[in-house]
């Protein structure tokens, strides 16, 4: 019988939540790495018991942990993230040049083909790859060095490479996103990159339609249609039907088009989910009502999903990597909040229940559907 494993990264450790396919009763394991910030935990699609976790603190820097038994035990692997060559500078918040400095890993993306190959998205923005199970890391420096790097500028959360999407149909194609540089694509396995931000409009930057400089918050793709991308930008929900070559806004009737998380239904590639957040400074749900919005038309027309979610006095945030879906017949949707709740829906968002209510602030949620 199938089961589900939810991997949760929080401000103070990692948690592993497991259930059978009914998704009614959950076992909770953790905290793993108690007291450390766990920005992301993700499993290999080839070997689901191979997990990678990004562990860091301001005191002791960055560690990468690896599990070979689905999160029961862990071992630290390599944590030397050295920029290739002389790192150079990017722009600081005030527009002055600032040296590239490694701070942490925001996102780990295991290969679709090899459990020992994994990509790491870093702050200050760079993409690293390991081909030996995380023991050693090499920068794919074509991204940082493709030309626009010196003009990149950090978003409020830092200059982080937070999204890595591997194209299942084109093994050499990869998409990444950086706050606040924008989205980029490689078609040659990371050697060369190009910005893919045409159609994005950001009123808060000097040139609203600039080639780079957009604060992309997250991108999602359905593996059956890898040329279709959905983006939650700082403002605006966007879609691309040509692998990012151009984007159209699909915010439609959302109460606010600001947010962080976005994801796609496991079986319906035109069904997408976002969590609108009030901004620019509040960063909590509008009107104190926690609502997931679903579009079954690939955007523009959205419905609020509220059953089981707090509809008053709720002032949490849902961060960019804190939403995921399972692949069971009735698609499950999951998201975590900065208030420490992890909500789950076993019916594609119609009804929600909290799996767990009182974790540390949730930074990331990933889901594995196990045979």
């Amino acid at each position: 019988m199938s089961s589900v494993r939810v991997l949760v990264g929080t401000r103070k450790g990692a948690f592993v939540l497991t259930s059978d396919a009914k998704r009614k009763h959950w076992d909770i394991s953790g905290p793993h790495f108690a007291g450390w910030e766990i920005y992301h935990v993700k499993g290999s699609p080839v070997d689901p018991n191979r997990l990678y976790a990004s562990q860091s603190t301001g005191w002791f820097g960055q560690l990468i942990q690896r599990s070979n038994d689905g999160g029961k035990s862990w071992e630290p692997v390599g944590n030397k993230f050295a920029y290739d060559g002389i790192p150079g500078t990017h722009q600081w918040y005030d527009g002055t040049p600032h040296p590239w400095e490694f701070k942490r890993v925001w996102h780990l993306e295991p290969s679709l083909a090899d459990p020992d190959t994994v990509y790491a998205g870093a702050e200050d923005a760079a993409l690293f790859r390991s081909i030996d199970g995380g023991q050693t890391w090499e920068e794919l420096s074509g991204l940082r060095g493709h030309g626009s790097g010196p003009s990149w500028q950090p978003g409020a959360g830092g200059m982080c490479l937070h999204t890595i999407i591997l194209d299942p149909s084109h093994p050499d194609r990869m998409f990444i996103a950086i706050s606040a540089a924008g989205a980029f694509r490689t078609d040659d396995a990371g050697k060369t990159w190009k910005p893919i931000n045409r159609g994005l409009r950001s009123e808060h930057i000097p040139n609203p339609t600039a080639e780079v400089g957009h604060c992309v918050h997250h991108i999602a793709m359905h593996r059956s249609r890898p040329d279709v991308l959905f983006m939650q930008k700082h403002w605006d929900v966007m879609r691309s039907d040509n692998a990012g070559d151009s984007w159209q806004e699909v915010s439609g009737n959302l109460p606010t088009d600001f947010g962080f998380a976005i994801d796609v239904h496991a079986h319906e590639p035109e069904t997408i989910f976002v969590v609108p957040i009030k901004s620019d400074s509040e960063h909590y749900p509008p009107d104190g009502k926690l609502r997931v919005y679903r579009s079954t038309a690939g955007g523009n027309e959205w419905e609020a999903l509220t059953k089981g979610l707090p509809q008053r006095d709720c002032y949490v945030n849902v961060l960019r990597d804190a939403m995921a879906t399972d692949a069971l017949d009735s698609c499950g949707v999951y998201f975590g909040t900065t208030g420490g709740q992890v909500y789950a829906s076993a019916d594609a968002g119609d009804n929600w229940t909290p799996i767990v209510r009182d974790l540390p602030a949730v930074l990331s949620v990933e889901v594995q559907t196990l045979p």
């Binding site: 450390w36 301001g58 005191w59 002791f60 820097g61 560690l63 030397k80 993230f81 050295a82």
Partner: protein
């Protein structure tokens, strides 16, 4: 034998429950102690000093014989009492609180 006192998070990471006893080749300095520590506990690499720059992480400090030796040169000899094991070499994390 030199005694090193680690912050609790690093003891957990290194799977040690108390102070660490180290054989340090040559003179006892910050660098030689950290080199020996990282050789014996590879999982600590990068947690006390940056692996690329070798700079001490800013929220950590080094104490010996009730003195803050954090800003001494990394190759400066530590007190004889540390070298002999009579006094420990402390690696301390900054305490954050309200």
């Amino acid at each position: 034998m030199i005694t090193v006192v680690l912050p609790s998070h690093l003891r957990t990471l290194a799977h040690v429950s108390g102070d660490v006893q180290l054989e340090v080749g040559g003179q006892a300095t910050q660098r030689s102690i950290l080199d020996a520590l990282e050789a014996r506990y590879p999982m600590l690499r990068g947690t006390i000093r940056d692996q690329v720059t070798q700079e001490r992480r800013p929220f950590l400090r080094f104490f010996a014989c009730e003195e803050d030796v954090t800003h001494e040169p990394p190759d400066a000899p530590l007190p004889d009492a540390v070298a002999s094991g009579a006094e420990p070499f402390f690696i301390l994390g900054a305490i954050a609180g309200g």
